[in-house]
């Protein structure tokens, strides 16, 4: 028996934004006009397609991500959610999250989103300093950010917001101050991402031209430690590398990814991982929005061919995602997820060294990373693997 075979999460990707932020390499495109009706039909078609294949599931969470899904029409969100209810059995405590940018246009739609069925909102606040918001190329200012949080609090049961730190030329002191200022606005959940300079973004070029500095690995580690301290004191410890929550307030949808449970992804560039006929499949939707739409219209979904994931690959993926969680992952879950034996996939010698170095906690039943381990996650995974 495979775990949670009967449960399923649904991710929608909305690949459009008002403008493209210079640090962002997500599948997001600044747009002039979008044919909302056509998109809605395409999403509906894809939903029906998956419902036919995986109809016997219970839906536990829905996530509208982007891009900027707060630019979607609330009517469309409503239609999609009602389709889901038509196609599938729904969990009592269904979580429906929507990512939103805190510009005034979008804030005004919060109420309509709630009425459409959204019960959790994730706000891209990024910073509580106007100058930094400008530098990040954001369309909002601090006043709008605070207003967005206020409205979100009124409209939704749960909300979260994202901050980016380790920003160009930011000092640890300045970040500590800003984070402490932000805490009173939090309610149960926050995501704190250290800035990554991604290739193929304007920041990458500017950084390489030497226009600004970002923390190196030593300062980056320090930033991380300081952040963890503050968040633990505030009762919002990390449950994942960059995600903090009070007990019970974790994003259930994102936990599905980290626990390597089943989800389908719909929309340009969206990915899915789900079991079907005893196989774990991966789906990958065409990333260009126009292509995705044409495919969805003609073949009922916008995905490249689904691929079966080999056992060793399932092990790697499950380990990679599971170790992002503070709790880590149980050996039994790893083995069930992958149909592989832990000892066959892991280099025992390296595991021992990693434990001795104080990076890994391991007790036969569960494997997790210490904070120092989390900081080296990308190195540890290949190090541990055979």
């Amino acid at each position: 028996m495979r775990p949670n075979l009967h449960q399923l999460a649904i991710y929608f990707h909305w690949p459009f934004c008002l403008s493209k932020c210079p640090y962002c390499d997500f599948n997001a495109h600044a747009f002039d006009s979008v044919d909302h009706e056509r998109y809605q039909k395409a999403y509906q078609k894809a939903l029906a397609f998956y419902a036919e294949k995986l109809g016997d599931r219970e839906i536990t969470s829905v996530f509208f991500g982007g891009g900027t899904p707060s630019l979607m029409k609330p009517e469309m969100v409503a239609v999609l959610l009602s389709d889901i209810k038509k196609h599938w059995k729904i969990a009592d405590d269904l979580e429906v999250t929507l990512e939103a940018n805190p510009t005034s246009v979008e804030i005004e739609k919060f109420k309509a989103f709630r009425e459409a069925g959204v019960n959790r909102i994730s706000l891209g606040i990024q910073s509580f300093i106007d100058k930094d918001l400008k530098f990040l190329g954001r369309q909002h200012d601090v006043a709008q950010a605070k207003r967005a949080i206020e409205i979100a609090d009124q409209c939704f049961d749960r909300y979260s917001f994202d901050l980016i730190y380790g920003r160009p030329d930011q000092t640890i002191k300045a970040w500590e101050r800003e984070l402490k200022e932000a805490l009173p606005f939090a309610k149960g959940h926050m995501s704190l991402y250290q800035l990554t300079i991604e290739r193929s973004t304007p920041f990458y070029m500017r950084y390489n031209r030497g226009e600004f500095n970002v923390p190196d690995d030593i300062d980056g580690a320090e930033f991380y430690h300081v952040t963890q301290g503050i968040m633990e004191d505030a009762g919002l410890p990390a449950y994942e590398v960059s995600n903090h929550a009070a007990l019970g307030q974790e994003s259930r949808h994102n936990l599905v990814y980290w626990r390597y449970q089943d989800y389908i992804g719909i929309g340009a560039g969206a990915h899915g991982r789900f079991c079907m006929n005893g196989q774990k499949l991966s789906s990958r939707d065409h990333s260009a929005p126009e292509v995705w739409m044409e495919r969805a219209e003609s073949q009922g979904h916008g995905s490249h061919e689904w691929e079966e994931i080999a056992p060793e690959d399932k092990f790697v993926e499950s380990l990679m995602m599971g170790l992002r969680l503070s709790k880590g992952i149980s050996i039994s879950a790893l083995e069930e997820n992958s149909e592989c034996e832990f000892k066959d996939q892991i280099k025992t010698e390296h595991l021992k060294t990693a434990i001795k170095e104080g990076w890994v906690n391991f007790d036969e039943r569960q494997i997790s990373l210490t904070r120092e381990g989390l900081l080296r996650l990308n190195q540890i995974i290949p190090y541990l693997l055979r």
Binding site: A270, T353, Q379
Partner: protein, 609 residues
Amino acid sequence: MGMSQNSKTKPINEIRNFAIIAHIDHGKSTLADRLIQQCGGLEEREMQEQVLDNTDIERERGITIKAQTVRLEHTAKDGITYQLNLMDTPGHVDFSYEVSRSLASCEGSILVVDASQGVEAQTLANVYQALDNDHEIIPVINKIDLPAADPEKVRTEIEDVIGLDASDAILASAKTGAGINDLLEAICTRLPPPHEGEADKTTKALLVDSWYDIYLGVVVLVRVIDGYLRKGQKIKFMSNGATREIDRVGMFTPKKVELDILGPGEMGFITASIKDISETNVGDTITDEKKPCETALPGFKPSIPMVFCSFYPADAGEFEKLRESLGKIRLNDASLHYEPESSQALGLGFRCGFLGLLHMEIIQERLEREFDLDLIPTAPSVVYKINMTNNTQVELYNPVDMPDVVKIKSIEEPWIKATILVPDEYLGGLLQLCQDRRGVQVDLTYAGGRAMLIYRLPLNEVVFDFYDRLKSISKGYASFDYELDGYGENDLVKLEIRVNEEPVDALAMIVHRASAEKRGRQMCERLKDLIPRQMFKIAIQAAIGGKIIARENVSALRKDVTAKCYGGDITRKKKLLEKQKKGKAKMRQYGNVEIPQSAFIAALKMGDE
């Protein structure tokens, strides 16, 4: 190949055999083109630039690697139609061996000097070789069409620097054709006919060169001294006693033309169902099987590889392909030596011996281009002679194989005598360079605003980026040529590079004690920048014997974690991991860390900067 033509051979006094010699780029090949064209060897439409440079690399680099021969006819003012056998020779020092072979089969040389450049180092080297072969020399001042041409100055230079009478030098342009007729006339009147050659003597011919042709098998280039070579004749190679029957006799015009016979003084080719060029020793004497001649020709010294380096396939799976490719190149280049070797840092590869640096570069380029191989070359090195305490001597081809120091009495390294011609303003820089490279000045003279430097230098110091430095210091104006000049003892040590206490075999080198520390430090610094930081600290050391002379650390990485990773990113992260894993195949374990092979490769590459 055309139909057989002659059954009679030319009288010896109507034959002229000559080589064209010049510093690189002074216009040898172009001049050969003009001569061929003028004599009607090729029709207008068949003519392409530098017809004698056959290989792609020769064409692209504009250099001649293999000597080429072509038979022309010219009717001189005296009414006689002469047979002219022309040899285009390689200009580069690495191939001076080829030059010497070509010269040995001729009686005269055309010395080409660029009218805008004047005499250069290889001009000198080639002239001396021609004089050693008792050649009559016709100086040709080429490129007179260039605005910067100064034929009179060059004429004086030829007289002052070389000591050759240039009063009747021919002014020519291989580009416009000016002076070509005068040159042809001079070849017929000023160069001597072949010396020896008596038709009634038994067959005696010089094996000038040989190469593999996919249609004909091994083609042997010959110069007949006495007697004849005929189709169907049974011949004997005097060096190894092998006998064969000639199945083809012919000449190049430059097209291959079959003949019935080659007579005294003539040049041409034969084929005799030979499969492997290793059976044909350049410089050998070919004679008649039944009626062999008594004494062999003096022959040539065999070519000896002077520069060594190892080639490793970047993709370990291509080792066999590399072996095959080297084998194919060797079919036509007997001066290439190779044998398999294995390195901890780089895997399986071949230790190769070359005539010189250019030869090495050309072989590498051919392997990469013609055979589509991705190669990792190690730093070039030379052959050391090691005198052991038990009074034996061993030759060291690879620094890795250096015997234990306590068993070594002394180490000898090869020296060269270098000739450098350089405009005055760069002299200081070049003296410094030679000094830094442990050079010993032999001579310094001036001629026409330029200095001629003669230096003795350890070859070891020359294979390591000397030529590039020379060119950059002189902004490209200095020219350089060298000849080997024996072995000499020196205070040489093996410099070892260690990563986490373990030696990296591919980076071992032999250096003079005085420069060991600097070279060691350089290599450590370089590796420090090239080895990616990892979870563990990495120690890099340079050592002589057991003594550490330089060290660097690659500090441990404190943070490497993807901040944001959700559903859609699994695939992306997985790809990264896969890449890392793939990279692992190219990783080498040193203590508790794995070092990507690419770091060592890059360190080696920087060696020739």
